[in-house]
């Protein structure tokens, strides 16, 4: 759930890519990592198998920059899609603020899409949420497949809450950013509805508003993604636009899709131990981190180097808020130390008595 930290002037939002296995969730995140400005993206951390299948989650912070004095950051996760990883999938959903459901458009994947959507609803229910109340957008991925279902069929089978939907070919980058942008817009709108204005109190959660996932923009026909030309990013699907009176200021602008991405980026293996929970066929698990080109730009950058020998220990980072003038609580430590010394003395005395008797 959204964390607003007025001391560090940060707003943190958790967004999760969900969907069946091999539907393109990690590809979406990799495209975002490759094409987002280096000043806005953090490291892409992936806990995956040797075969590049997500084992626990992929994670990347995406920094929106300082908005109205608050550094706004999206913590973007993916989940493992395979059915047998449901327990880890559920864990990643904890505290989620928005869900991007990545569906495989292939007709042969319809059952897996439906099962994954049902599983998403179940897992959300375990956290007291549901698709009807949490912001979500749908992405119809792999539109370039020859057996891709029509958008209307996908809408009918999967988009029960009439959420915003986007066509995409994630491995070429088409549709990736509009999907994420729409998700971000809906979530930020929800933040303002809950936290904005003088009447908001901190006693309640900054929860997404029911139905807020529905785009507020006027209906506009969604153009199909051309196969051989830079795609103009589609607007919200007509079926997902219920013609509301107001128009959100966070509407998605048309945007040309960037060029096709290269293969998966080089990764740095951090660990290589296969978990017992992995399927027998799963190879060794690795956590790979794609190093960012430049550090995420902070409004108040913190030092990243360890202090040299001899420097004062625990030098306070620049971004850490200065404590108030309240005195440190040393008393408890002194009493504890005295207690330990007394106990040790008593123990030694007891041992001496016992040894003397023996």
């Amino acid at each position: 759930m959204v964390q607003i930290n007025f001391a560090q002037k940060t707003v943190n939002v958790k967004i999760v890519y969900y969907g069946p296995g091999m539907s393109g969730k990690t590809t979406n995140l990799e495209v975002v990592h490759q094409r987002a400005p280096s000043t806005n993206r953090g490291e892409l951390t992936s806990i995956s198998t040797d075969g590049d299948r997500t084992l626990f989650f992929d994670y990347m912070p995406l920094d929106l920059g300082t908005v109205a004095g608050m550094r706004t950051c999206f913590q973007v996760y993916t989940v493992p899609g395979q059915v047998y990883y449901n327990s880890t999938r559920k864990l990643v959903l904890q505290g989620v603020d928005g869900v991007i459901f990545v569906a495989d458009s292939s007709a042969s994947m319809l059952d897996q899409n439906i099962e994954s959507l049902r599983n998403l609803e179940e897992n959300l229910n375990e956290y007291g949420k549901s698709l009807s109340s949490i912001p979500h957008v749908m992405q119809w991925n792999k539109r370039d497949l020859p057996d891709a279902m029509s958008v209307e069929e996908l809408e009918r089978h999967l988009n029960h809450h009439r959420a915003a939907s986007f066509e995409a070919i994630a491995n070429t980058g088409q549709g990736v950013f509009p999907t994420l942008k729409a998700m971000a817009a809906v979530v930020l709108k929800g933040i303002m509805q809950e936290a904005g204005g003088p009447k908001a109190t901190s006693g309640t959660a900054i929860r997404p508003v029911a139905g807020s996932a529905r785009p507020a923009g006027a209906p506009s026909p969604r153009p199909a993604i051309p196969r051989d030309a830079p795609a103009v990013e589609p607007a919200f699907h007509p079926a997902a636009a219920p013609v509301p009176a107001e128009r959100t200021p966070l509407s998605v602008a048309a945007q040309a899709a960037p060029a096709a991405p290269a293969a998966r980026p080089a990764v740095r293996t951090i660990a290589a131990t296969a978990p017992a929970a992995a399927a027998p066929s799963s190879p060794a698990a690795v956590m790979r981190t794609v190093p960012k080109l430049t550090p995420v730009q902070r409004s108040d950058p913190r030092p990243h180097k360890m202090p040299v020998a001899g420097s004062p220990r625990r030098s306070r980072p620049a971004a850490a808020p200065a404590p108030v003038a309240a005195p440190r609580r040393r008393g408890n430590g002194v009493f504890t130390g005295m207690f330990v010394l007394l106990a040790a003395g008593a123990g030694a005395l007891l041992a001496w008595v016992v040894l003397s008797v023996l």
Partner: protein, 164 residues
Amino acid sequence: MSRDDQLRNQRIVYYEQDIARLGTELDAFLELSKARCTLLVDRDGHLVTRRGEPMKTSEEAISALIAGSFAATREMARLLGETEFSILFHQGKRDSIQLQMIGERTLMATLFDGRTNLGMVRFYAQEAAVRISKVFAEIASEERVGNLQEDFEARAADALDKLF
């Protein structure tokens, strides 16, 4: 879970005085335990605050992994019939890390090296956890007014347009 409990568990707004109080407790803990640094991480993976030496790597990524690690362990505990494993310890060649649950929704991660030992860290972390959990309980019990600037949404829209 009652409505009140639910609201308390969902509180996610921190103010300067909250972080200052938490920072005071963490500084005292670091001074006693001689640990390198300590982080308070929300159960959802968001960093609340940190004290001590700066870290060489992304604190956001570390926070996400800490939350994921603890969540996985809690699920393991549930499968084994335990309520939870409230303390985790990862030992490295040079640095080690102890993770400890504080209250219902916060994790305290303490990074330490050869200048101290696990016993010291665990002993003082237990004390600190009690004090910090009281701070969180007080934070959760207070009703305070706070809000983002009214133009947050419009500026966020501009920032999104620039980013994408």
